[in-house]
């Protein structure tokens, strides 16, 4: 009995620490990769390869003045940044890293992830509202509209995978891919989910809630110190979470030859995170109305058609 408790405790702390550390490292990794693709060094001064830049940034963030504007809605202002951290870290609970590694084996794991990602929206919206600032408000309005619309087909695009695996359980979905990864039969679902994932984590090119050229910093304009840091880390957490989920759902999770399962999982997830960064380096930001039109007029019909086709083929195959 006590050994199982120790194993699950180790899993919980392992996943928590790994997620937070990787998110922190990603702040450095992203800048290095961007530098690489833009023909410049990136942060390379502090420590080996500039690795301690993360530590330097953390120290800086911790010692900045933690300022709450006089006109802000104080309790909500403090609550907002914690929501994104909490919901994203909770989302990691259902990710099956390897056969024995993973916090919880939930029957509705996929829905749990969707629920957590829809909770994360509140962070942006409430932060924007509590700041009581016009730029923040505009950013929050955009975030609300963007995430609510992209959430619709984020869920729909996953239903093809659910139909093929016959389960919402992420572990069973991975095991159902032993015959072949779902990225091939569910290529459309993969594309739609990937794009919706970028929009959900409001990363470039879909970072309109914080578009710095028009909204200064969007929803986190008024935030400083670790409150800003939580928004910042939360964004990287969501990038990692979505990459890990795509790995689980479409790329066969931990499955793969020769290497140990966990290594495969991290390789695939790392590759997807790199694609996220590459997209940021390569693609310019669309206009806000273009983003919404693209969502409702292209992505939604595509994901519905994918759902219909998957259902039809599955019925036909019996």
């Amino acid at each position: 009995m006590s050994t199982t408790i120790w194993i699950s405790l180790a899993n919980i702390f392992g996943v928590l620490v790994a997620a937070v550390l990787l998110a922190a490292l990603l702040t450095w990794g992203e800048r290095r990769l961007l530098g690489f693709w833009q023909d410049r060094p990136g942060p390379n001064r502090v420590g080996p390869f500039g690795l301690f830049q993360v530590v330097a940034d953390m120290i800086k963030l911790f010692f900045k003045e933690d300022f709450i504007p006089r006109f802000a809605d104080r309790p909500v202002f403090i609550l907002a940044p914690t929501i994104v951290m909490a919901s994203m870290l909770l989302g990691f609970a259902v990710i099956p890293v390897a056969p024995m590694v993973g916090v919880i084996d939930l029957n509705v794991g996929l829905l749990f992830f969707l629920a957590m990602s829809s909770m994360a929206v509140y962070s942006v919206i409430l932060g924007a509202y509590a700041s009581n600032n016009k730029y923040a408000l505009l950013g929050g309005l955009r975030a609300a509209a963007q995430t609510v619309s992209y959430e619709v087909f984020m869920g729909l695009s996953l239903m093809g995978v659910v139909m093929m695996a016959g389960s919402f359980n992420l572990r069973e979905i991975v095991l159902a891919q032993q015959g072949g990864w779902f990225i091939l039969p569910q290529a459309i679902g993969f594309l739609v989910f990937f794009i919706a994932g970028i929009a959900e984590s409001h990363r470039l090119p879909f970072d309109l809630p914080e578009a710095e050229h028009e909204l200064t910093a969007g929803f986190h304009t008024e935030y400083s110190s670790m409150k800003f840091g939580m928004f910042f880390v939360g964004e990287y957490l969501s990038v990692i979470l979505i990459s890990a989920l795509i790995t689980t759902l479409f790329l066969g999770g931990w499955l793969g030859p020769w290497l140990p399962p966990m290594v495969w999982f991290f390789l695939k997830t790392g590759f997807l995170v790199m694609i996220f960064v590459l997209l940021r380096a390569a693609i310019p930001r669309p206009r806000y109305d273009q983003l919404m039109q693209f969502g409702w007029k292209i992505m939604l019909p595509l994901s519905l058609a994918n759902l219909l086709a998957t259902g039809g083929v599955l019925l036909w195959l019996g």
Partner: protein, 179 residues
């Protein structure tokens, strides 16, 4: 073990719902409503309906409430609205409806109490797990009519929203051409 969790969650739900009513600030009230919905989701989960719990969070707490926060944020009422709420929360305006609802609540409790004791006692033992498959099958067999009616209602809403949005955008376009 389980009744403790249940009553704890139920208490959270009830307190949060009361806070929705008594909050003077609309956004704070909505936050309490979100907490209340999350508590209800946890209750669903405890009663063996994880699908209902997940959908409660995704649909109610995650989508509908976001839209409500969205609207309230757009109105950006500020302190004037809080003042107005303060005047509305004077005892004179809520005592009479409060007593009337209290009578209804009392009736409900009495009715539930009549048979509820036995179900509350035996309820924990007969918790059965309801998965996604069971929900889907009963939705598309026994409750097919309700599903179809709901879909028609949603279609009407969709068409209405489309109509409203379209008129506005064509008017904008014409205004743009005139300039």
């Amino acid at each position: 073990m389980y009744p403790v969790y249940f009553y704890l969650t139920a208490a959270v739900a009830i307190i949060a719902t009361a806070m929705v009513i008594f909050s003077r600030n609309a956004v704070h009230a909505l936050l309490h409503l979100i907490v209340s919905l999350l508590a209800v989701a946890v209750i669903f989960f405890q009663l063996g309906a994880p699908l209902a719990a997940a959908l409660e969070v995704i649909v109610y707490a995650g989508a509908i409430m976001v839209l409500m926060v969205f609207v309230i944020m757009m109105l950006n009422q500020g302190d004037a609205a809080v003042e107005q709420e303060n005047t509305w929360l004077q005892p004179g305006s809520w005592v009479a409806p409060g007593i009337l609802s209290g009578v209804l609540l009392l009736q409900l409790i009495l009715m539930l109490g009549g048979q509820g004791v036995s179900t509350a006692g035996g309820g924990a033992a007969e918790i059965s797990y309801v998965g996604a498959g069971e929900v889907g099958i009963s939705l598309f067999s026994r409750y097919l009519l309700a599903v179809e009616l709901a879909s028609m209602l949603l279609l009407a809403g969709l068409v209405g929203a489309f109509h409203l949005a379209r008129q506005k955008s064509t008017a904008d376009l014409e205004a743009g051409h005139d300039e």
